[in-house]
Amino acid sequence: MINNWKNDYVAKPLPTKALLTGFVILALGLLMMALAFAIDHQRAAFNGIITMMFLLSVALGSLFIIALEYLVSADWSVPFRRVAEILSVVIFAVPIFAIPLFFNMHDLFHWTHLEDVLNDPILKSKMAYLNEEFFSIRTIVTFLILFLFWYLLAGRSFKQDYAPKANFIKITTKFAAIFMPIFAITLTVMAVDWMMSLEPHWFSTIFGVYYFAGSFTTALAVITLIVILLNENNYMGKMINRDHYYNFGGLLFAFTNFWAYIAFSQFLLIWYANIPEETSWFLHRSEGSWMFVSILMVVVHFVVPYILLLSQPSKSDPKRLKVAAIWLILVHFYDLYWLIMPTYGKHGAPFSWMEFYPLVVSVGVVMVVFLLFARNKNLLPIGDPKLPKGLHFHL
């Protein structure tokens, strides 16, 4: 009984039509991006950070989910690890979107204006960390480390399908343990460098955790969405059941709450202490139409997904779960918009077609990367000895 999954799962190539759609979306996105840079390169660069940080969320979150599965030796998620592994390939696309930003550093970061920095005692004292050379080194080193860990955690797994090594899980678990602190540091460095330093006077020690909460939810939502779509078209065998979905729904629900907890902690501490250098960040987000955006954030990022995922059936019903996953992906864009754009539009939320190019580009990149890389690959890790146990998972 335990081995009959082999009869159920047959590797099928993913449809070319989907890949073509992905290419069309990506081409449209890149066109919008190029047009945006041509019209208003400062605004386009700010949107570029949104694109980059969203793709980084998906890639880093997937790597984190893979590492977490090895570390806690989870069984239920083994059938979906391959989806996360393919999705984490997005990490190689992220630096591409960082390149145009490096050419627009002066439009983005106040601390790159040396004459202002030298006249500002606070910025002057931060010069040892916030300078263009060290910033570039940090970003490059971070990506190199992440590429290495992509290979160690995800890249090695594909060979397991045909030539399984006996000690693979044991070794990868060790890599996962090493990756955890590195994940925390790299994610915090990227969040602090690319988003917190937009307002260099401001600081929040919980900022990295805030970005992590959004990243994990997003990566999980993308994986959930892909798994549901694959299952609807019978690409993952017949063994995926409602209990698997229930775990996805439960985790999405938990991390919706975790995000709210972290976001509110950051707000409450700053609101209570009421120190000018800390409150400035929230004041920028309550000026003019930003106040509306900030209040709506509570509704769209917490109340709506909370209600969508609260009941037990909604966590295990793929149709409702799909809606929740798409919603959580979209609100991460909203979250990044709220984090990044107030530095550009100081007195009101800027909103036009330009603010949509991060969404179109990101969807295109994820689709193209996933579908291209998944060609001729199994969508289940068929060489993993824990796979039958994972497929037979029941609550």
């Binding site: 409450l268 209570y272 009941s311 029941h394």
Partner: protein, 382 residues
């Protein structure tokens, strides 16, 4: 006498067996049956076709009650019943209510869910269930798995039920009987023996507690140095004779060091005539004076002693200290006002020491001079 049938039981040997049995019993149309196992078996709710548990609604109702109760309670206290400004926040500081609201929500939801489960769904306390003390229960609570079809079910007939269980693979079937009287037995809480026992227990426990905490703890060597050969402050004592307390009153006319009494109570003119500032206007003195002035005087007088400041409108505004009158006052007069207060200004003797008062006066003089500079000041500057 046990004579009424409660139900028919079947014993199964394996977890897979009991799952199959539950499916068969459910499919054959029985509504009132239950499965007993020593540990939870995955897939059982589905096999028994139990449907979703109503427990979630307990959590929802109690959680919402907690959320509203917590938020409204704090709003009523902080905003309406006893409005207090805490760390400069408004009377309705809703972000500060959220952690408390969250905690009360979690508390009520969890406690309500557990209590609802125990008393509503499990129907506890239930101390005389027919299955208690049967061989069947002994077996299924150690190493066997059992299913019980209740006689209350419409479809029930003893022979058919037994046949069904045997065909489902039961290794053993039996019938459970019960007695209406035993089942409906209610213990009498006014029973004399019971109440005497309760009373005796209460007396023994409270007596033992009293002896332990009030007698035993204070006998040697357990008195934890409570009794020592010294006199505590403010306790009655005959040690000093006519004085009945351990503290002594100082002799008439003595003053503590640094607390010399003020000589010119109610006599501003005398103070002006006799008191002069003993301190020179050095940088250090002026800086202390400025600090103290900014803390204690500036809320009403203003940083520049012009008479309007941040408490403007909440108290009567003090007059400007740059007036001709104040400038011509002697330092002693100002010292007198700081010490005794004037009009609505209270005494600042508890906040400022004698030295500090003089330093504040130096600073006030500097402020006055800044507003009414003389010709020679400008020349000196050059």
């Amino acid at each position: 006498m046990n004579n009424t049938i409660y139900g028919v039981t079947g014993i199964f040997e394996t977890p897979d067996g009991i799952i199959e049995a539950a499916k068969i019993v459910e499919k054959s149309g029985y509504k009132r049956f239950d499965v007993h196992t020593a540990y939870p078996i995955h897939g059982m709710p589905k096999a028994m076709n139990l449907g979703p548990s109503p427990l979630g609604y307990f959590a929802l109702v109690f959680g919402l009650t907690g959320a509203f109760a917590g938020f409204l309670l704090m709003t009523w206290i902080m905003t309406y019943n006893y409005p207090l400004i805490i760390s400069g926040k408004p009377f309705f500081p809703y972000p500060a209510f959220i952690p408390v609201t969250f905690e009360i929500t979690v508390l009520l939801a969890s406690v309500g869910t557990v209590l609802g489960m125990l008393f509503v769904l499990f129907k506890l306390p239930n101390n005389s269930h027919p299955l208690h003390d049967t061989d069947y229960m002994k077996k299924v609570s150690s190493d066997k798995f059992g299913v019980c079809l209740e006689a209350k079910d419409e479809k029930f007939s003893e022979a058919a039920a037994k046949e069904l269980l045997i065909s489902a693979g039961a290794s053993e079937v039996g019938t459970i009987y019960y007695d209406e009287e035993t089942l409906n037995f209610k213990p009498n809480i006014f029973d004399v023996k019971f109440n005497v026992f309760l009373l005796v227990t209460a007396i023994v426990i409270s007596g033992a507690t009293y002896v332990l905490l009030n007698k035993l703890m204070y006998t040697e060597p357990f008195n934890w140095m409570h009794h020592q050969a010294r006199i505590d402050a403010q306790v009655p004592s005959k040690f000093f004779g006519e004085n009945n307390f351990s503290m002594r009153t100082p002799p008439k006319g003595t003053a503590a060091r640094g607390f010399a009494p003020y000589q010119y109570k109610g006599q501003p003119e005398l103070a002006e005539a006799n008191l002069t500032n003993p301190l020179p206007p050095t940088r250090e003195n002026l800086e202390v004076g400025k600090t103290k002035y900014d803390i204690y005087c500036s809320p009403c007088h203003g940083y520049h002693a012009l008479g309007y400041a941040r408490l403007n409108g909440q108290f009567p505004n003090p007059p400007s200290l740059h007036s001709e009158k104040v400038r011509n006052w002697g330092d002693g007069r100002i010292f007198h006002i700081i010490t005794e207060g004037q009009n609505s200004m209270p005494s600042y003797s508890t906040q400022l020491s004698k030295e500090e008062k003089w330093k504040v006066i130096l600073y006030v003089r500097a402020l006055e001079r800044a507003m009414n500079a003389k010709e020679e000041d400008i020349n000196n500057d050059k």
